[in-house]
Amino acid sequence: MILKGRAWRFGDDVDTDAIIPARYLNTSDPAELARHVMEDADKDFPTKVQKGDIIAAGKNFGCGSSREHAPLSIKAAGIQAVIAKSFARIFYRNSFNIGLPIFESRDASDKIREGDVVEIDADTGIIRNLSRGEQYTAEMIPPFMQELIAAGGLIEWTKKKIH
């Protein structure tokens, strides 16, 4: 699977309150959550972001709360993938469970700039920066996570297990 899109830059330690502030958590409707995605990191982001875009961030992306609303709001806003130096663990779990592609790459995190057009080969973990003619490698996705992706997320995986 190839994911190609325009990158938005964010820094280190982007927390779940910045991704989706708790004041909007009185709903779990993905479309409504998407209208406020990343609002406390960049208040204009929900209007600027376009379907197919990619987020490139620093270390510890998604730290803080366990709210699944965070990866849900990113996915519902049409963002295809998140690349970061590292992810907070609950955010990491949640992303695989709901089917938001995420990639850990120190190199990509350091070098991708806002507006760069990036192409990710989800199967090999090769990230190509088409704007700069650079190539980076993402950490391999652990086999169990690949199994989850192949099944279509944790719920589909669980369905197979119980039936």
């Binding site: 708790a22 709360s65 366990s66 609950i90 469970n97 709901i98 169990f144 944790l154 719920i155």
Partner: protein, 421 residues
């Protein structure tokens, strides 16, 4: 093996578990709240499971936006009530019977030593104070576990934190954990188990241990944990609703890192905006004026926390420039605080006392900050916009510092106000 590895092994039918190993483990208790349970319930239905794995091992606690703060929050709480009726959930806590989840479940003896617990709330790691493996997960993890009674884990590496020396006056579990997070950073324990031990921990009361384990997530930790001892036994005895097991760490257990802290050198500590790791001694922040003080939350809303705050503020008044909000974490704590006269002390000091709720901690309601306002809170996070407007600020501290700050109208330490003995 470490205590964390032993609990994971015992719950996955293995004699041994090593860091990095992927396991499917049986869970003893699953919990979710009014923010996270609605998605879990929706996803659970998608699994096609006919019933939940065990109706007495699932807890639903409307506490974040409850008592219901608006129509949408009420709709979410209604989902918890209706799902609980449909599946005869044994541990549903209605308003009036509830409390903040991580204060309520230990208090009611529903989480016990040796348990493996998952919760759709990041502060589920609190229960490590009892010698349990407890970790926060997402709603979908909870949905799958409600169907199967199991959850997948990557066994974490363990870090050991050793605390020795005598605590300074008014310094407690909150200061130790803030100091530790300040030392290692908000991802200093990413994916790892944080095991707290040492002579200072052995004498630390359960409420201080709960506060420490509660904030393990603020260092990126998978869980915080303390090997059970006499303090644990005294807490669990007569309270535990299920049989419990004490696990310990072997002398030859492997730790990726060991850090030691001389507690006599740890001052009253405050985390400054906008990360819990941004710590400074409280005494160095006396120029910071404060608009609101919050005493409460799953971190510091227990009876002993309220006692500490009351001891400082007794016979004093909240500064005219400050609003002080006190939130006992559970109905039982509320009642005890009332019987002990703590609530009267707060009301006489001109603070407000709220019914149990997470409310302001996550910027829900019951004390939201306006643009440019600044709060000092006994809560656990001070991210941008955490308690209200994106241009407001939150400082984190212990209850005694919070009470002193409320009196002074600026960040201060208890010694600066008469203790009103």
């Amino acid at each position: 093996m470490t205590i964390t590895e032993k609990i994971l092994a015992a719950h996955s039918g293995k004699s041994e578990v090593s860091p990095g190993e992927l396991i499917n483990a049986k869970v003893d208790l699953i919990l979710a709240n009014d923010i996270t349970a609605p998605i879990a319930m929706q996803e659970f239905k998608k699994t096609g499971a006919k019933d939940v794995f065990d109706r007495n091992r699932i807890a639903f606690i409307p506490d974040h936006f409850a008592p219901q703060k608006d129509i949408k929050a009420a709709e979410q709480c209604k989902m918890l009530r209706e799902f609980s009726k449909e599946y005869h959930i044994g541990l549903y806590f209605e308003v009036g019977r509830m409390g903040i989840e991580h204060a309520l479940l230990p208090e009611q003896g529903l989480v016990v030593p040796g348990d493996l617990i998952i919760g759709a709330d990041s502060h589920t790691c609190t229960y490590g104070a009892l010698g349990a493996f407890a970790t926060g997960v997402g709603s979908t993890d909870v949905a799958a576990a409600m169907a199967t009674g199991e959850c997948w884990f990557k066994a974490p590496e363990s870090m050991k934190f050793i605390y020795y020396g005598e605590l300074n006056k008014w310094v407690g579990g909150k200061d130790l954990i803030l100091h530790t997070i300040g030392d290692i950073g908000v991802d200093g324990a990413l994916y790892r188990a944080m095991e707290f031990e040492g002579e200072t921990i052995r004498t630390l009361p359960m409420y201080g241990r709960l506060t420490m384990c509660n904030m393990a997530i603020e260092a990126g930790g998978k869980n915080g944990i303390i090997v059970p001892d006499a303090v644990t036994e005294a807490y669990a005895k007569g309270r535990a609703k299920r049989p419990y097991t004490f696990y310990g760490s072997d002398a030859d257990a492997t730790y990726v890192e060991v850090r030691e802290y001389d507690c006599s050198k740890i001052p009253l500590t405050v985390s400054c905006p906008h990360l819990p790791s941004n710590t400074k001694p409280a005494a160095e922040l006396s120029q910071i004026t404060i608009d609101q003080v919050v005493v409460g939350s799953c971190t510091n809303g227990r009876l002993e926390d309220l006692r500490e705050a009351a001891q400082v503020i007794r016979g004093r008044k909240v500064n005219p420039n400050v609003r002080m909000i006190v939130i006992p974490a559970t109905q039982q704590i509320y009642k005890e605080a009332m019987k002990e006269g703590l609530l009267e002390i707060f009301i006489d000091a001109e603070a407000v006392v709220s019914t149990p709720t997470c409310g302001p901690c996550l910027g829900g309601y019951m004390g939201i900050l306006a643009k440019g306002e600044r709060a000092l809170a006994t809560t656990n996070r001070n991210f941008v916009g955490r308690m209200g407007h994106p241009q407001s600020e939150v400082y984190l501290a212990n209850p005694a510092v919070a009470a002193a700050t409320a009196v002074l109208g600026r960040i201060g330490v208890p010694e600066e106000v008469a203790t009103g003995e």
